[in-house]
């Protein structure tokens, strides 16, 4: 039986970022009329594959669900940290980033938003990953109400910039975006608007 990791073609230690790339890659692969699959599979098979992918991503992109799932596979200890965020690539990884990897990287760099600058973009990133405001709140200790205001860009309800920066960064981190860059972009935009 293929695990969610198998379905996405990633390792069980993969970061959320890697999982998202893999998910998008496979969604394209099973997309409507996608070259690699349309003549190989019939429409029903494609639908089944898409549904499996969506389910795998729903679970693996959600911190709590992923931890439970890992436990069910015997991968993680209870209460252990599961979600890993992208870390700077080690030397070994850099050595491999030769021409061949760069070209592959280019192929997938497109279409992956790493920075959100609006409340709507943050919300979209959250929903794609199936994370609730409460999940982020539990994780970040930022009240769910405030997180909602961030999404709605309710300037009147948001705290001073110095706090807001931290809140947006926490939000972004929880949904797999670049925390620092997202917070800066979000605040810069609101600053212009006000």
């Amino acid at each position: 039986m293929a695990t969610h990791y198998d379905l996405l073609g990633v390792e069980s230690r993969s970061t959320r970022d890697e999982i998202e790339r893999a998910y998008r890659f496979h969604r394209d692969m099973y997309g409507d009329g996608a070259l690699a699959t349309y003549s190989l599979l019939d429409p029903d098979e494609i639908a089944v594959n898409r549904a499996q992918l969506d389910e795998a991503f729903r679970v693996l992109s959600h911190p709590e669900l992923r931890r439970e799932y890992d436990q069910s596979l015997g991968l993680a200890k209870a209460g252990g940290a599961v979600v890993q965020f992208p870390t700077p690539k080690g030397e070994a990884a850099q050595e491999r980033s030769t021409v061949k990897e760069r070209t592959a990287e280019e192929a997938f760099a497109q279409g992956f938003r790493r920075v959100a600058s609006t409340g709507a973009e943050l919300k979209q990133a959250r929903e794609v990953r199936g994370i609730s405001l409460r999940d982020i709140s539990l994780r970040s200790k930022v009240g769910a109400r405030f997180l909602g205001y961030i999404e709605e860009e309710r300037l009147d309800m948001l705290p001073a910039t110095v706090y807001l920066r931290g809140f947006v960064a926490e939000y972004a981190r929880a949904v797999g975006l670049d925390p620092r860059a997202s917070a800066e972009a979000y605040i810069a935009r609101l600053g212009k608007r006000s």
């Binding site: 890659f25 996608a34 070259l35 349309y38 003549s39 192929a107």
Partner: protein
Amino acid sequence: MALPMPGPIPHPATRTRQVWSLGGGKGGIGKSLLTASLGWQLARMGKRVVLVDGDLGGANLHTCLGMAPPELTLGDFIQRRVERIEDIVVDAGHPGLQLISGASDFLGAANINYQQKVRVLNRVRALDVDIVLMDLGAGTSFNIIDFFLASDLALLAVVPEPTSIENGYRFIKSALYRRLRNAVVHDGARRLVESALDPKNPLGIRSPLDLLTRVREESREIAEAFEKALAAFRPRFIVNQVRSQADIAVGHQLVAACTRHLGIRASFVGFVHHDDAVWQSVRKRRLFMAEAPGSRAAEEIRQLARGLLQGECLALPW
């Protein structure tokens, strides 16, 4: 045609001699140009290379290389008008690069029999070079597929268009089923493989994986032979004439689809962009590698050659 084709034939370990082949099922996707430019680059990198033109629709490797049609061709060798294969090898205008011209529809033609095929393969393999690179031309006939299966490195060219991808899959399936069929001597198992080739077979076998499941139920021994044959089948995709990042991604998707739905360990070894410099050179009957070395396509051929020599493939970035 009941005899299985031999695998790679061992030769004295004086040097590593390899036979590479380039197939693709469909015509007009640039196989000849890929073969010519890849061979040219390998020669430039210090390999002694002989290109073999097996294009069914009309041999034109010599034109790609800017040469006049050679007088003697593989047809002369097969028909035994010349006895030694060395006599049909001509210099291809670049140090280390030679050519065996096709110039007749021999590979796809029905009149080449098993012995002739083995003779060609053995003699070609015995040539005193580093790499034999065969342009298999279009089609999925047994003769083409047998050369594909017998090579050390089986390259499969596609362009990111539906017809080419469909033909590419057809080529892969035909090659794989032929390999599976030849992997067993049991008549029932062979019939099973043959019936699996019909997409509407009553057994409901839709893919090599279905076939394997079915065989496992019947015979462990045959299933093991199939698994071995599946594992040894390693087509390498080249995606030609790409125009976008999404086109490049098709190469990775083909590999993933082969793994998941056909049970085949394919790999993606390179891509070449659609490049005006290529056809401008073609019009002048010059090879773009020499005519436009700074072009994007030329650089991508150099990357392809380097990667193939080093046994690399393109990796997904996760």
